[in-house]
């Protein structure tokens, strides 16, 4: 059975999404256990795949039994095995942490919500695992479509934000599709490995260069790289918390992964980084993203909105790191995919816990939270330290690689932007700590109506949060292993 694990990665969530949606009509009590079981199962499968890959190298799985260029393949290699584990673990933790909220907010539509949740996840997992350029598009659309729905049922402006997200998402995905079309014109195949085999003969091809630009543009829109980031803050901050905790950690990160995949596996690094002007432009865009994201985050007065701008800046980290085009930079970008997913997960889970008890995430409502919700705040602090980049949390180490990569490539703008953003992040989070630490808790302002006394959130919310927060330190301490045993093996030869 182990040889079928790459397929199980997708089948388990897909079948259980169907079962959950059916159970929503038959007996709602079964929905949640089923969802947890399926995500847990998929997580176990992904961990076992990671172990297999580390022991025996990449695994290729042929869907429908057709060999690569003819059929669709799934490829689990050093690059995506850790990403898969992180994606599934994040979704799993968030699901458990959000149980109370989901059951309270979507009572009637529990089945539909959980089914969408799992389908979104299976889309994400598929994007990460697939070895076929077109299959990636289909999965991208699954993830996007379910994402629009998960966001759309939020508060106030959520439908409008979600529709704007839909427009931008569709533009992004369509550009990617168009880029695949150009690749197909030039090579006649859709299999990633097959395309990269043909790349050496097509080095000077203008069509492929256009395809690269179009694919990348599409992915940049999807990952909200500055200046195409406009949809993200509204969509994420108005989404229901349970959805934000799923979508915010995964979407941008998986899109960055897709960028790495397209850049390294489809186009091969020799081609991707062959035009200095393109790399240079994109690195400067990333610098813009980092600076703009940080400054805009400073202007926000709501916790969740502030975090969305932090995400915009983080996207700049990863895109810039990748397009530095050297080994250190790409290592940093890939490492940051994993670390940033964990950090964002922790932050959004903490915000979800806070809003659940407090009913608000405006800065002025956060007074005295250290005293009232100590465990939640410990999780929040750890995540904040990781975002600022304080050792031994994982954020420090990926930033380390990114900055070193910038120095090696001589991209001083990028280095300065990273340091600047670390400082701004420190200001951002300490502003909140100050409010939560110094100001006394204002009794009686609008909390969620769970009894008169404000207290720590239920254990089912706090425990996953603390686990996520501790994972930040664990990831940090295992950076060496992750880099030498996985990421460096994933980066193809031919990169300085």
């Amino acid at each position: 059975m182990t040889q079928h694990f790459p397929a199980l990665l997708i089948i388990v969530p897909l079948l259980s999404a169907l079962a959950v949606s059916a159970m929503g009509w038959i007996d709602r009590r079964w929905c949640f256990p089923l969802a947890v079981a399926s995500l847990g199962g998929a997580l176990a499968v992904s961990v076992s795949l990671l172990v297999q890959v580390m022991a025996a190298g990449p695994i290729v799985y042929q869907m429908a039994g057709w060999s690569p260029p003819i059929g669709i393949t799934y490829v689990i290699d050093y690059l995506n095995a850790p990403v898969l584990v992180v994606v599934l673990a994040a979704a799993f933790l968030n699901l458990i942490g959000a149980k109370v909220r989901i059951e309270a907010e979507f009572e009637e539509k529990l089945g539909a919500y959980l089914a969408l949740y799992i389908l979104f996840l299976s889309g994400m997992v598929g994007i990460v695992a697939t070895g076929d350029a077109f299959n990636l598009y289909v999965l991208l659309e699954i993830a996007s479509l379910t994402g629009y729905a998960l966001i759309g049922l939020g508060k106030e402006r959520a439908p409008l934000s979600s529709l704007n997200y839909l427009f931008m998402g569709t533009i992004g995905a369509s550009f990617y599709l168009l880029g695949i079309g150009y690749i197909y014109i030039a090579t006649g195949t859709l299999n990633m490995a097959d395309i990269s085999n043909m790349m050496p003969q097509l080095m000077g091809s203008g069509t492929l260069f256009l395809a690269l630009i179009i694919c990348m543009t599409g992915l940049f829109v999807k990952m909200a790289l500055f200046p195409m980031h406009g949809w993200l803050p509204n969509a994420y901050s108005n989404a229901p918390s349970a959805s934000a905790g799923l979508i915010a950690p995964l979407t941008t990160k998986v899109m960055v992964y897709a960028m790495v995949r397209v850049g390294l596996t489809i186009f091969t690094p020799e081609f991707t980084f062959s035009r200095a002007i393109l790399s240079e432009t994109i690195v400067w865009l990333a610098v813009g993203a980092i600076v703009a994201g940080s400054l805009l985050a400073l202007m926000q007065r709501r916790l969740s909105r502030m975090l969305t701008y932090v995400i915009v800046a983080e996207v700049g980290y990863m895109v810039g790191g990748f397009w530095l085009g050297n080994k250190t930079g790409i290592t940093g970008a890939t490492l940051h995919i994993i670390n940033d997913a964990a950090m964002t997960l922790t932050l959004f889970m903490a915000v979800s816990t806070i809003t659940w008890k407090l009913g608000s995430d405006k800065f002025e409502d956060l007074k005295g939270l250290f005293g009232k919700m100590p465990f939640t705040m410990i999780g929040f602090v750890l995540a904040a330290l990781a975002v600022i980049g304080i050792p031994p949390t994982c954020g420090f180490f990926s930033k380390w690689y990114l900055i070193t990569g910038g120095i090696e490539a001589g991209q001083w703008g990028f280095v300065v932007a990273l340091l600047f953003s670390s400082l701004v992040n420190a200001v951002l989070f300490f502003r909140i700590f100050e409010i939560a630490f110094f100001e006394p808790f204002a009794e009686g302002h609008g909390h969620h109506g769970h009894g008169p006394a404000m207290s720590e959130a239920p254990a089912s919310m706090v425990a996953p949060l603390i686990i996520a927060a501790l994972s930040l330190i664990v990831l940090g301490l295992y950076t060496g292993d992750i880099v030498t045993k996985l990421i460096q093996l994933a980066i193809p030869a031919g990169i300085a």
Binding site: L385, I388, G389, I390, P391, P392, F397, W400, Y401, I403, T404, I407, E408, V415, L419, S422, L423, A426, F430, E434, F437, F438, G476, L477, Y478, T479, G480, D481, V483, T484, Q488
Partner: protein, 495 residues
């Protein structure tokens, strides 16, 4: 040189780390404070158990995890680290005792958080002392910043808030903006962070780059309080006095100078710096800080603020000593870490005792207090004499070595700096003592009955004052450790 692999350094660091959950879950105050003592004694015992081996000229190494390829979180206990670890772990015991008296007398809130953060800070301090490479050093340096933030802003009022903000802005801002980039630049060129007796730069940089990098470190470790990155220190004096005492006379600021000293000796290498003449630049910066801070201290009326500026000046003694790059200068600088610690902590304890007993913070209101609190003020006198550097107190020994160091290196200018500063020290300390003891009855400002502070406060400050005296007559093992460090650096045989 013998190298021993042992988890003892890690154990010493983790002792106070593991006590944090226990402190949080303790049922009563007594249990909580008992555990603090257990941790402090245990920590001191572990450190002490490593001492004989180090004194024999050995080193103890331990690697926790390889976090980046070829770059590990690792510990290496050498003589210099041992010296610092001894000072901070022994003083934690005394401070814990003092904290109990002080915090209970003033009925401070949030004591559980206080003890927990204190324990964390000590973990971080020992981590810095035992760090085997620059990455580990930086890691614990940052950890210390965060662990001390709740202590500095303990009162949670407006003043504490703005001081806390200033504290973090300076410390964190400087370390992220200056130290981190400098580290990255060095790493990208040399590919290593492992401290070496003669540094590991090996001519990877030109002189101008070296200058910039060195200055980035000297200023970036803002805990060392080199001007103009000093003003967090007076601001941080809003903290409860035990915090000021241990952290801002011993742990935090000494971590700063320790880091600077480590970087100068272990990263750049003294020979390299001497050949490029970079030590002198640092000496001038330190001299400037020494003189200016002493003059500012003269004008301060708040006792703790005066002590703070005095600390800024004394820290730069250490940097000056190291940067002289001469054997005696370095010995003096390193020894001053210990001697100044015992002297200054006594002074802070006294300031806290006065405040706890009478509620007075300003020097101008302390006329005649020596009659009411004779033990405290005697200790204060001893402490100030030590800091000024007069015999028969420990401070004399370190200052003597510093003076010899300036002569050895032939830089007479700094000799005058030291002498001028000693005079200034005397000028801002001795009047306090004088006014406290010698005044007419009319001048005495204490109508109401002021008694000596509780025993829990009094005993610690007597202990540290006595230690200051003892170290004059018997400066071991600190002198030995400092000399061993210098011997390693200059490649001389072990003393």
């Amino acid at each position: 040189m013998e190298l021993l692999y042992s988890a003892k350094p890690l154990a010493a660091i983790l002792v106070s780390f593991f006590v944090v959950p226990i402190i949080f879950s303790a049922r009563s105050e007594n249990v909580r404070e008992a555990w603090t003592f257990v941790a402090a004694l245990l920590k001191f015992a572990i450190v002490l158990s490593m001492l004989p081996f180090i004194l024999k000229g050995g080193q103890i190494a331990y690697t926790v995890a390889e976090v980046l390829p070829g770059l590990a979180i690792s510990f290496k206990v050498d003589a210099f680290g041992m010296l610092f670890a001894l000072v901070s772990s022994s003083l934690w015991i005394v401070t814990s005792m003092y904290s109990i008296g002080y915090m209970r007398t003033l009925k401070e809130h949030g004591q559980t958080r206080y003890y927990a953060c204190f324990a964390l800070s000590l973990s971080a301090t020992l981590g810095v002392a035992f760090a085997g490479n620059l990455l580990t050093l930086y890691l614990f340096y940052e950890m210390l910043s965060f662990a001390t933030y709740p202590l500095v802003s303990h009162h949670q009022d407006r003043e504490a808030r703005s001081s806390g903000r200033k504290y973090l802005t300076y410390i964190l801002g400087a370390s992220i903006a200056l130290v981190l980039p400098a580290m990255l630049i060095i790493y990208s060129q040399t590919g290593t962070f492992e401290f070496a007796p003669q540094g590991f730069m090996n001519g990877a940089f030109s002189q101008s780059t070296m200058t910039v990098l060195l200055l980035m470190f000297v200023f970036g470790f803002a805990k060392a309080g080199v001007m103009p990155f000093h003003s967090w220190l007076p601001a941080a004096m809003v903290a409860p006095t035990p915090v000021s005492a241990l952290l801002h006379a011993v742990a935090v600021v000494k971590v700063g100078v320790f880091c600077v000293a480590r970087v100068i000796t272990g990263v750049f290498g003294t020979k390299m710096l001497a050949s490029m003449g970079l030590g002198t630049i640092v000496c001038y910066i330190a001299s400037f800080t020494i003189i200016v801070s002493s003059i500012i201290a003269l004008s301060q009326d708040g006792l703790k603020r005066r002590l703070a500026f005095s600390t800024i000046g004394q820290l730069s003694y250490i940097i000056l000593g190291i940067a002289l790059l001469s054997p005696s200068g370095m010995t003096g600088g390193m020894l001053h870490i210990a001697m100044h610690a015992f002297g200054k902590i006594t002074l802070f304890f006294c300031a806290g005792a006065i405040y706890a007993a009478s509620g007075i913070k300003n020097i101008s209101q302390m006329v005649g207090i020596g009659r009411r609190m004779p033990f405290t003020m005697t200790a204060f006198l001893l402490g100030s004499l030590s800091v000024i550097g007069l015999p028969p107190l420990g401070g004399f020994i370190s200052k003597w070595n510093l003076v010899i160091g300036t002569l050895e290196s032939g830089q007479i200018f700094f000799l005058f700096v030291l002498l001028a500063s000693s005079l200034l020290n005397a000028a801002y300390f001795l009047p306090i003592c004088y006014k406290a003891f010698f005044c007419t009855d009319e001048e005495a400002m204490f109508e109401r009955k002021v008694n000596e502070v509780p025993t829990w406060c009094l005993v610690p400050l007597c202990i540290t004052a006595t230690c200051s005296v003892i170290f004059f007559f018997y400066p071991q093992p600190f002198l030995q450790l400092a000399k061993m460090t210098v011997a390693t650096i200059i490649g001389a045989p072990m003393p």
